[in-house]
Symmetry: C2
DNA sequence: GTAATTCCTATTAAATCTATAGGAATAATG
DNA sequence: CATTATTCCTATAGATTTAATAGGAATTAC
């Protein structure tokens, strides 16, 4: 399941990407427009800022703005920050690899092989979609 | 993330599928061989039985056996029983559809569109893999 | 100086997942 | 019939994760 965090984050990014004229977009505006709990969104946008997707301006009339072009923001990168690994099991994760406790040999593991296929198919989709696609 | 339940369930099914000669396979044998907590596995196999994947024989020398040919058991079906929806959000789920609280219009929702693509790519893989493939 | 905003940390509440406990029911075997 | 080995069933505890909130510090425009 996609966490609310990720869902809200993607919606917020989309909202900001669509607000082209505005120099900044405030948390309050996004929260209200997208029906996202304000305080929750606050933390999410902070994460996205620290990860280099968003810039911010403090104080009155402050808010957030995109640092890169929407077309240059791949969904793989956003998902990894908000949701964590793309892979469904750590033992097939490219960026968050971990060995399974129970499994003596990955190459023999049926789940491992299946989950590699799932991972690759998801990667394909997420690499192929940028924020520009979401904002369309 | 794939739950342990699903992971264990898939491993157990694979194990049973590989034990062709045996008329039944006991929980204890699977648990030991696959490093799965015995009591946990007990519940999982019971679920798989109730869902029509496995048959069982009680009493001494009892155990579980496959009801269908491995090649006829699609991963989509197993996953839906053990893990739940294939889709990452209920609003794009074919079998567990639910409307989002926050989203006034699904067709306008960027997350919705993206998650449809992810779902379809996962479905493709999971439909394309049967228990026979896992057991190879 | 005031109002509006981001920034930061901590905490609570709820849900879900993992695992275990304990025993009932069933079947094979000598 | 007694023993042993198994599935079947329900309940529950413990751990982890997620979702949301609280409260205030820092910053900026005007």
């Amino acid at each position: 399941m996609l966490s609310k965090k990720t869902k809200y984050g993607l919606k917020a990014l989309t909202y900001i990407a669509r607000s082209k004229e505005a120099s900044t977009v405030s948390i309050g505006e996004i929260a209200e427009s997208e029906n996202i709990p304000r305080k929750f969104l606050e933390g999410i946008l902070l994460t996205l800022k620290k990860s280099g997707f968003l810039g911010s301006k403090k104080g009155k009339y402050g808010g957030y703005y995109l640092i890169k072009e929407p077309a240059d923001i791949m969904m793989t990168d956003v998902m990894r920050i908000l949701e964590g690994p793309i892979a469904m099991v750590p033992c097939v994760s490219l960026n968050f690899y971990e060995k399974c406790d129970d499994c003596p040999d990955e190459l023999e593991c049926s789940v491992h092989r299946l989950m590699i296929q799932v991972r690759d198919s998801s990667l394909k989709v997420l690499r192929n979609n940028t924020l520009a696609d979401l904002a369309k």
